[in-house]
Symmetry: C2
DNA sequence: CTGAAAGCGCTAACAT
DNA sequence: ATGTTAGCGCTTTCAG
C-alpha cells in the first residue's frame, strides 16, 4: 500500500538510485532533481523503508532495552535517561518487558536482534552462558550483572548493602533479616554476599528470607515469617519489596520503625511518599541508562575492549529505621554515610 | 558475522529454499533432510533473520506501543496486559516513550512503522490529522482518544469525571477546582467538558487550572494557585497530579481533606499507599491494553470496519475527600457510585 | 520432496 | 550528476 522507491522514481522520471541518493546522500544529487524528487515523494507519501535499508546497511539506528519488569518504578528513570541519550545520537529505543521470565527474555532478544543495532539487557534473569551465546548474534550491554567479556554497567550494590547493614548494626540491631530477591538475580547475590560480610563485621546475625518475587507483593508475603523470626531490622532487595514488607508488617500489628526497622534499595520516587518514609540505598539508575547507551554506541570506536562501569550508591536515611532493641547502643554512626556527596561514577576501561 | 541461510545450505548440501522450508514450513520437507538441516543450523548457530523475512512476508509478529510517559504508573498495567495478550498470539510488544512530545511521537511511529505489524498509540499528543496521516503507513489503534475512522479504545473519563464532581458537590462543595492535563490531551478535554456539566448540574462553580504537565511536579506546581483561588475541592487530571497537589498543599500548610478535598483519576497502585489515601476514578487500564491488542490483531478478519471500545470507570472513595465548608449540606449521596459493581467494558462495532 | 528463479525495498560500487 | 548492476537474507511460485 505505501509508496515504494520505484513509484517515486517512475513519477519523477529518474532512476531509483537517484531517489535513494535524494534521501541518503542529498548532496550528491542536483538541487533541481532533488526538489522534483522530494516533491513527488511528498505527494505520494513516500518514506524510505527502514527495514529494507537496514538489511543492506546493517544499521537500524534503533536500540533495544529489555527490563525484567516495567512496572517496577526503578526502571523508568533508567529508560528515560537511555532514551534521551540515544535520541541525541539519532537513535530510538524500543523497550521490552521480560516479566521476570528468562525464557521470555531470550525470546525477546531474538525478536529484537535484527530490528536493532544492539540491546541493553537490564537486570537479566538468563544464565551467563546463555547471555554470552546471544551476544554472538547481537551486540549486548549488560546492566546490573557482572559478566567478564561483555560490556557491563553495574550499581555497586555490595557497597550499598554494606552501608545499610552498618547503619543497622550501628543502631544497635543484632539480629538482622535480609529479604532476598528473585532467583537468577546477580544483584541479589551481591547483596547477600556483602550483607553477610557486613553483618559479621558488625557483630550481628543475618537471617535470609527468600528468594522472592521482587515486588510489593513479594515483600508483603514474607512479613509474617520475618516477624516470627524475631529479627529487629530488615534489609530488602529493593524498595518495592520493602514497601510491601512494611504494609505486611503493619497488617500484623507491628510498628515501623518502633518494633522493626526496614531498609530498601533503589530510592524510587515512591519511597519518600509512603509512611514512614523509607530509609534506602539510592542507586543511580539514570546514570546507568546513559552509561549503557554510551557503551553500546561507542562500540564502533574501540572494538576488542570491553568496558565496565561500576556506579556508586548512597545510603539515604529517612524514617523507617530506628534504634535496635538493645538499650546499650543507641548511638548512630550511620549518618557518616548519609552525608556522602553526590554519587560518583567510576569508569574503568580494561 | 551470524550465519545466513546460505551457510546452512552449503553445509548441509541442500538448496537454500530447502533450508527456508525447514524453518517456515517443516512439514513440506523430508524428515531426514530436515534433521540434517536442523543439525547444521544448530551447529552454526543459525537463526532466520526476521527482518529479511518480514521484508517479503510483510509480517513481523511485532507490535509497537507508544506511551506519552513511561514513568507514569498508569501505563505499566496497560503495557503488561497488552504484552500478555500479544504473547498469546506469538507477537512481541516493543514499547516506546514519546516524553509527552508530539514531534517525538511522530518520529517514533516512523521508526517503528516497518519493524512492527501495527502500533498502539496510547494517550497520543499529536493532532488528529497527523494521526490519520500516519495511519496510512501503518495500522494504528488509538487508546485514550476518540478519532472517527480509526479503531479506538477509550476510558469513559467523562462518566468518571461526572461521578467525581457529583461526589464533591454531594459533600457540599460549591467551589470546585479542576487541575487540567497537558495541551493536546483528548482525555483532559473530556474531563473538562464533563466536569463543567456536572458542576452546573450540582450547583457548583468550576475553576480550571492549567493546562499542566501531567506529573507529580505539575500537580505540586499549582498548589499555591489552587489555595489562593478559594476552592474547597479539586479534581485532578490524574492521580500523579493529585498526589503532587496534595504534597504541595501540605507544604503550604493546608490539610487534606479537612481544608480541601482532592480527587484523582486512574487509581494507580500508589494512590492507596499515600496519606491520605486518594479518592479517585478507577480506569481499566489492563482491559484497555487487551482490547487494543485484540483490535489490532483482529484487523485481518474484518477490514472496512472500525471498532470502538468505551470502557466504564468507577469512583473509588478513600480518605482525600470530605465535607465541604457549607454546614447546610453534609449529606453524602456520592456513595451510590462507590457501590458500583466491577467496571464493565462496553464494546461497540460500528 | 527439492531445486531454480524471481523479487521484497533498498543501497552501493561502478560506469558513463 | 545520474544510470547500471549486484545483492542484503529471505520466501515463494513454478518446475521437475
Amino acid at each position: 500500500m505505501p509508496a515504494t522507491i520505484r513509484d517515486v522514481a517512475r513519477e519523477s522520471g529518474v532512476h531509483i538510485s537517484t531517489v535513494s541518493r535524494t534521501f541518503s546522500a542529498p548532496h550528491l544529487v542536483n538541487p533541481d532533481t532533488r526538489t522534483r524528487v522530494l516533491a513527488c515523494a511528498e505527494q505520494l507519501g513516500y518514506r524510505p523503508n527502514r527495514a529494507a535499508r537496514a538489511l543492506i546497511t546493517g544499521r537500524t539506528f534503533n536500540v533495544g532495552l529489555i527490563v525484567a519488569d516495567i512496572a517496577n518504578p526503578f526502571f523508568p528513570p533508567l529508560i528515560k535517561a537511555a532514551e534521551s541519550q540515544a535520541r541525541q545520537r539519532d537513535y530510538h529505543i524500543f523497550v521490552a518487558d521480560s516479566n521476570e521470565d528468562a525464557a521470555v527474555e531470550e525470546d525477546l532478544v531474538r525478536a529484537l536482534a535484527k530490528q536493532v543495532d544492539g540491546i541493553l539487557l537490564c537486570s537479566p534473569r538468563m544464565s551467563n552462558s546463555l547471555i554470552e551465546l546471544l551476544s554472538r548474534d547481537v551486540p549486548l550491554v549488560v546492566v546490573n550483572r557482572q559478566i567478564t567479556g561483555l560490556p557491563t554497567v553495574v550499581m555497586d550494590v555490595a557497597q550499598g548493602a554494606g552501608l545499610a547493614i552498618d547503619h543497622l548494626s550501628g543502631l544497635g540491631h543484632r539480629r538482622i533479616g535480609l529479604v532476598a530477591g528473585p532467583r537468577g538475580s546477580w544483584t541479589s547475590k551481591e547483596i547477600r554476599r556483602s550483607a553477610a560480610l557486613a553483618a559479621r563485621a558488625g557483630g550481628a546475625e543475618l537471617t535470609v528470607f527468600g528468594p522472592n518475587p521482587p515486588t510489593e507483593h513479594g515483600g508483603a508475603a514474607v512479613a509474617e515469617q520475618v516477624l516470627r523470626s524475631g529479627v529487629s531490622a530488615v534489609l530488602a532487595y529493593n524498595d518495592l519489596m520493602a514497601i510491601g514488607l512494611i504494609e505486611g508488617l503493619h497488617a500484623q500489628g507491628a510498628r515501623v520503625p518502633a518494633d522493626i526497622s526496614v531498609v530498601g534499595i533503589d530510592d524510587i520516587a515512591l519511597s519518600r511518599l509512603i509512611h514512614p518514609k523509607l530509609t534506602t540505598v539510592a542507586t543511580p539508575a539514570a546514570a546507568a541508562g546513559r552509561a549503557a547507551v554510551d557503551m553500546l554506541l561507542a562500540h564502533g570506536d574501540d572494538r576488542r575492549t570491553t568496558a565496565h562501569a561500576s556506579l556508586q550508591t548512597e545510603l539515604v536515611i529517612r524514617d523507617s529505621t530506628g534504634p535496635g532493641p538493645d538499650p546499650h547502643s543507641h548511638a548512630d554512626p550511620g549518618n557518616a554515610a548519609a552525608a556522602a556527596p553526590e554519587a560518583v561514577a567510576s569508569y574503568a576501561k580494561e
